[in-house]
């Protein structure tokens, strides 16, 4: 996957790159949640274990962002400036 494509607005496919960036973590968390909810229905042992781990993921993400957000870097103050760097942004899926 072409990383240059996602990086800069005005690149080859800025819209799809930006969509990828926006939806990567929400999709990962949704996938964790649904597989966790279903796996415990079907299996008692590993199914339950995966459910516990998978359902912890959204909570871990929230906890991580809140902990990190406690001291936001200065440039986060001006999110509206178009080329603002995203120092703590998620890595795009490769």
């Amino acid at each position: 996957m072409n990383t240059a494509r996602r990086a800069e607005p005005g690149g080859a496919h800025p819209a799809s790159a930006s969509l990828r960036r926006i939806w990567f973590w929400p999709l990962v968390l949704a996938l964790c949640t649904t597989t966790g909810l279903v796996s415990a229905l079907f299996s008692e042992g590993w199914g339950d274990a995966w459910a516990w781990l998978a359902l912890s993921m959204p909570l871990a993400a929230i906890g991580w962002c809140c902990a990190r957000g406690a001291a936001p870097p200065l440039n986060a103050l001006v999110p509206a400036a178009p080329p603002a760097p995203r120092p703590h942004g998620p890595r795009a899926p490769r």
């Binding site: 929400p26 968390l29 909810l37 339950d48 962002c65």
Partner: protein, 379 residues
Amino acid sequence: MSPRSVKLWSGVHTWTSLVCTAFMLLLCVTGLPLIFYDEIGEFVGTRVTPPAMPGVTQRISLDEALAVARRRYPDRVVQFASQDEGSDAAWFVTMTPTPAPTADFRQVVVDARTGAVLPSARIDQGFLWLMERLHVDLFAGLAGKLFLGFMGLLLLLSIASGVLLYAPFMRKLSFGALRPGRLLRWLDLHNLLGIATLAWGLVVGATGVINTLADLAQDRWRATELQPLLAHYQGQPLVAVQEWAPVQRALDAAREHAPGSSISFIAFPGTAFATPHHFGFYLQGATPITGHLHDVVLVDARSAAVTAMPARPWYLTALQLSQPLHFGDYAGLPMKILWTLLDLATIVVLASGLLLWLRRRRPGAAPHGAALAWKGVPR
């Protein structure tokens, strides 16, 4: 997304949320103790564990247990009876004024070894009962259930519109960025918690809506699946208790008909889960998934002969599977704790949404340049 559709969806998001928020907050708060229904029941005494009696293998018959229950509440009828999973030490008998669906329950716990009534707290009053009524039907029976179901539909619509708005809001933000400034921070927290708990919220919301349709599903099942079986009984009234065959014999017949499954509960003639002419013996399988699915063996109340084991229609399968997915009671205590935390996160989403709406109405409250929906989303 065009500015016009952002405006449209943000209108949908605002108004569906506003209508259902108060009720959703109520459901989230009353739902919290209900996650620990069994544990709290044990604590307050509505849930009874019969004392251990090593070496005692004799059991009274189901008929004797029912007779004990009837002596306790002579003016009531037996609606359901059940035993704890994996234990035949006690019968839990539910007594109601009539066989019709009601919230007016009395519980009698009969020790199956001695025939004694085990003391139990009333299940028709107290903390858990109050929480359950507020969570299930707002003291308004079927109308209350359907009303809450409609509120649940609005919640689903509000979640869906929130998801559609997520991308335009996050275009210039990294995942989970929490900007400083009180209002902005609440907005970012609303978006983060909302999107992180999205799948859970959708599943619990949707299964909650399905659960509100339980009574209707049961009615439909009796009307469509059971009617053909009842042609033979045309014109006969409800089988009176005096005409019942020994219930123990009916139980044995049902067990013999479906070896390998255990009896989850028994519904008596005239109740929503049986017919006027049959006992309904509800089976549960031994695997995790079939343990949630109940098939019924209908046993003629007069003759104690098995009439049929009708196939379970799709809507009852959906209903029965949506119960664990709503209750979060199918993967032990860790799952209940996770359910609690996700519920708390949902409360924050609801409350922050309400807060943002209230603040937005106060002129000048929004910080300069705030990317709030009503101020103009980055295009």
